[in-house]
């Protein structure tokens, strides 16, 4: 029973990380209707930036917040320089650009930081919290970080004018321009925020999977599954999907199919959702009157 509980808890912890990355995917999908295949690599690259800062002697939390700022800038710059020119291009062109971005960031990280696996520190203590045996401090801490992030994002999109403008620009760019919203700026902002959210996922998963250029490839697959399970256009769905995928992955991996086949859980989920419920659990069919 206790190992089962532990599997659930570990699932919630990694699920939170999938949820964050899925949320980053959903944010970009909502505003551009593109799946950003390079989202994981942006997160990986940001984690390397954090690692460099920590290695240079900067304390963890200062490095953490500096990385948030840097990854925001990285995301916004990528949108301005690379994505903006193909904004109106056919979808396949955009997909190729995303894949190119994935390969470039991956190789760049390997070239700059080498492919050797590096440990990445956790900001949370080594010993389990309050002497509990079912969850480690890092797992509990990363659940906490995810929840704080989600609440902040919710408050931002729900209650600030800028958040409202970003939602508007994502939904209806033409009408947004007609109320004076600088839509292109909102897209850059969205990319920046998505990169920032992704970087949190990267820094939280790195102590578990270790830091190397390919560390996010599996995570990104789980995040896709999470976003699809929840509904690719629903931020809440992405979050719940993330936790579902995290728990399923851990429990099935431990009791049913073994750790080697864990990744196939994500693929099975992706295929089944697309076959049986393409809108996902929370993907909404908008009610409109015409």
């Amino acid at each position: 029973m206790e190992t089962f509980l532990h599997q659930i808890m570990a699932g919630i912890a990694t699920g939170g990380i999938y949820a964050s990355l899925a949320l980053a995917l959903v944010m970009i999908y909502q505003s551009t209707h593109h799946i950003n295949f390079a989202q994981g690599e942006i997160a990986m690259f940001a984690t390397y930036l954090a690692w460099s800062l920590i290695n240079a002697g900067v304390s963890y939390w200062i490095a953490f917040f500096s990385t948030l700022v840097l990854s925001f800038l990285l995301g916004a710059l990528i949108q301005r320089i690379i994505i903006k020119p193909v904004e109106r291009a056919p979808v396949l062109n955009v997909v190729v650009v995303f894949i190119g971005l994935l390969v470039i960031l991956n190789s760049l990280a390997g070239w700059i930081f080498s492919y050797t696996i590096k440990p990445f520190p956790s900001p949370f203590p080594k010993e389990p919290p309050f002497g509990w045996s079912i969850i480690s401090s890092h797992e509990l801490g990363s659940i906490g970080v995810t929840l704080v992030l989600l609440v902040l994002l919710f408050l931002f999109f729900r209650f600030t004018t800028l958040g409202l403008a970003m939602r508007a620009a994502a939904q209806n760019p033409d009408s947004s321009r007609l109320v004076g919203i600088r839509v292109s700026r909102m897209l850059a902002l969205g990319w920046g925020m998505a990169a920032m959210i992704g970087s949190i996922a990267g820094m939280m998963i790195a102590p578990v999977v270790f830091l190397e250029p390919n560390m996010m490839s599996g995570v990104l697959l789980y995040a896709f599954a999470a976003a699809l399970v929840g509904g690719i256009d629903s931020p809440l769905g992405a979050v719940i999907g993330g936790f579902i995928v995290g728990i399923l992955e851990n429990v099935l991996g431990a009791y049913l199919i073994g750790t080697e086949l864990k990744l196939s859980v994500a693929l099975v989920l992706i295929v089944s959702v697309l076959t049986f419920k393409p809108a996902g659990l929370f993907g909404k069919n908008l009610v409109t009157r015409v």
Partner: protein, 237 residues
Amino acid sequence: MNVLLTVKNMCAGYGQGHVIHDINMDIMEGSVTALLGSNGAGKTTTLRALTRMISMSGELHFNGQRIDTLATEEIVRLGVAHVPDGRGTFTGLTTEENLRLGAYSRNDKPSQQQDLEKMYGYFPKLRERKLQQAGTLSGGEQQMLAIARALMLRPRLLLLDEPSFGLAPLVVQEIFDIMRTVNQLEKVTILLVEQNAAMALNLADHAYLLETGRLVKSAAADVMKQDESIRRSYLGA
């Protein structure tokens, strides 16, 4: 009266080829101008060109400033509100969020709340629907919402694209009454595109007639009403 908007030799269209040719107009400050024409004459295209939603050539001067090089959102920020064809509702947002977006480019937070109240005064239906998803509003309500959203900008110039389209006569009457109020009390200059020529000419001071992409007539609304060919083709009398 001053000229608020001058349009010089404006051509515009979609992709290659022009839909409207060589449009010249002067919109007087404080006036209501009607742009009449049948289906496909280029009325919507003209309005879209004025806020540069489509590519255009020619000159636009708004309040003494060249605006034909500015992006749509920058023109809007100068005080040009455009109620587009199809109403442009943010269907996934609530009614109140739609209205707040109308004031997005303004910097005076406190008076936005007053304006919100004022819009609910003009259109009490919108208050009843304020937390409802705007896509579920009826056609008439969405038209009211589109006009109210445009007014939240506190515009100097209001461009209206067929506000009567597809609406019940009573609703049309209500909307036209409010446009008159807005013009007279708040001194908002209005450029109105309409197929319903009779309604438009009753409200307007001046009218232009557009046929197959060219302006063929420009006259005071009263003169236009008496014009024999207009009566036959557009007023059904």
